[in-house]
Amino acid sequence: MKVLVWDKSKCIGCGTCEQTCSKTWFKEENRVKSRIQINKTENGFSGNTCIQCGECILVCPVEALTRDSKGIVRLNNKTCVGCLSCVGFCPTSSMFVAPDEPIPFKCIACGICVKTCPTGALSIQDQPDPLEKVFYRRHF
């Protein structure tokens, strides 16, 4: 499973990734609409992006969130009803919501930001596939 990985030691907080992301997906440079969020902290920066754990899949009432064949968790915009359950229940707070966007959005490890990061702080890495967490005790 390919996952976007952020390296704290290399990040200089320039915001290039955020601008690239929002421009790619929302056609505007607006960090609020970026699927990766870099925030300044006392000790440098914190980076927040989806680790593709799939917890959000379990709370989506309409099955708008699914894992694709490459293991990436994707949101089907047409199916989503904007309930924001996934926003509240994301363990890493990486499902984002922004003004004027009725439905949430998340990183799908497209890798475009990796190419524009000036310090190489971002990379796409192979991670072990997550365990299936839903347990159907009996057949349905």
Partner: protein, 725 residues
Amino acid sequence: MNIYQNPYNPEKIKAAHKLLAELKYEIKPLVKGYSNQTLYINVGENKIGSKPVDQVMKDKFTGGRGFNMKLLWDAVTENTKWDSPENEIVIAAGPMGGITQYPGTGKSIVCGISPLTGAPVDSNVGGYFGPYLKFSGWDAIELQGIAKKDVIVYINGDEGIIQIFEAPEEDTNSHLIAEQMCDIFAENEMDMKSIATVSAGKGAENSFFGCLNFSFYDRRRKVARLKQAGRGGLGTLFRHKNIKAVVCKFSGMNANNNEVDDLEKIKDVGASYHRELYKEDDKQCDMRHVGTAHLVEIMDDYDLLPTHNYKFGADPRTPKISSVVWREMFTQGIPDGCWYGCTMQCAKCVDGYILQTGPYKGDTVSIDGPEYETAAAFGANMGIFDPHFIVEANFYCDTYGIDTISFGTGMAFIMECYENGIINKEITGGYDLSFGNGEESLHMLHQMARGEGFGKTVGLGIRRLKKLFAEKYGADPKFLQDIGMECKGMEYSEYMTKESLAMQGGYGLALKGAQHDEAWLIFMDMVNNQIPTFEDKAEALHYFPMFRTWFGLQGLCKLPWNDVEPANNAETDDPAKVPAHVANYVDIFNSITGRNIDKHEMILQSERVYNFQRVFNLRMGFGTREHDMIPYRSAGPVTLEEYESRVERYDKQLLEKWNWDPSGKTLEERHQKTREFREDAYQKLCDAVYKRRGWDNNGVPKIEKMKELKMDLPGVLEVLNKYYN
């Protein structure tokens, strides 16, 4: 998915439909939570029409239960009985109903003149029908008349068509007809979530305990699941009208079907509430894993779990039906909300259950619940501490359209009558109906659904049974009155109130009958002693019933209000009110409607409808003090056995609370004195509550109160003038 041994044929069912009436209408977008029209259907005359909703209606009645009560008032006369053709079933969401961003926003409210009480009743229920109805263009639906043959009402909110069909081939029982409607009206499996069905079952036909099942299609389980408008016998009314199902199809769900005024604010409030649930629920009520069944052991711990017809409040066998058991039996890891976005997801489900009895024996089914009420009623109150019995009876009650609360409390009454020799095997048809007998109880349930044997008699409800047992079998009417746990004709839900005077009022003073949805004050009163005086209790019995009425006006579920609380709630000025969540509701209401109410106006909205409903009760021949009286079993120990079981508590109270020294007195004397004190306290409570609510000492709203609320409508004044003159 369910597996049936005798599968049905959807094509055959559909082919038998005969169109009786049709109306095409233009679907308009909602305006800030309202569609601004209501739908009128008369199944007796095959009429379909619409009625406008004006600003005055919104200002006075807000929506939901308020709209229902207004429409019902206009439909009936003071002479209308539950089975009169003009009686209606009215169903509505409310202006907040159907938003997806905040949990618990998909409730429908159902009203009608109750077969159990003879008065207006309101019952709230999950499932998709209410919001779909609104998004299809209707703030409410009135169902009037009695069809000559079984019919289905179909509202196609995608195309703007309403039809009434003669429907001879559908099953009546809900787990089947809810699926059949999906098979017939959905385009394909993906579309089944667009179908919401209201139905009842054979038990609703043949008893007064009829509930309505509201469906929602669970795509993961591939089952049409059922939530119940349980209280008041509305399913009985539904089947009396010969309606098999009311179906609404709506496939256009999105993030803003309500066309709200300020979606951004709702998104903010919703996302932060979801987060709060994520962080707090596991530490607090664990609603997400066990639903309301988490209460079983808590109620037992506090001596509040009704056991053997409310004689006792705890039992050593309770661990057999506690949440530990339910956590195992419920399938975990699936979103179980009964409306989109409800992350509290208390609608738990037992899957792959093979039925052991009845007409569907051997079928494999998913079973909604049990919720706390059902587990407590079937488990402790009937003394059957067997989760498999509870699940089996839960399934059949649901599909037969029988309210589990009325059935459980009704059976508990029957069992006590049986153990006291009031009824015997000769009367029950050979069944030993002692406490704890699950197999015999299931026989009663199946008989009730078939309309046969003693099971049919049980389905008369406690009020009618008391009369029957006294008149036919010579039972002592006073004893039956003491142990028959009903008020206004409605069976009690499952909480022991002996040690909480405020909660005795919570039941007795509830408008519709003995249901706890107006006020649940036991912890405030009994455990935390926060409302010690009559005036304190009266204030609580003003605020909480009004606050909780608001959920019914808006199309909301009560549970997200206080079944999880902010981490710092205990540090607030008024933790019992959960101020942060009240603020959420005010914010969302304003963001939907574009209005600017505060928490005081919120209570006023409720007071208008609440007082209107009280006058409605009066109009129908009820609504006065005598109808607020409660059976003594809910106030204190009826029998010496009960007194002795908690003898230290009662003796101590005589001395410390009532200043009456029990030493040297006989058990009978102490028992009698306890009764005198407790009955007197209930009367004083009524005095205080009536005063606080602006009613006279007979429990009737004063004309000045109605004027103050701007609810001095001509019909209301006519009723009140008649009473006061």
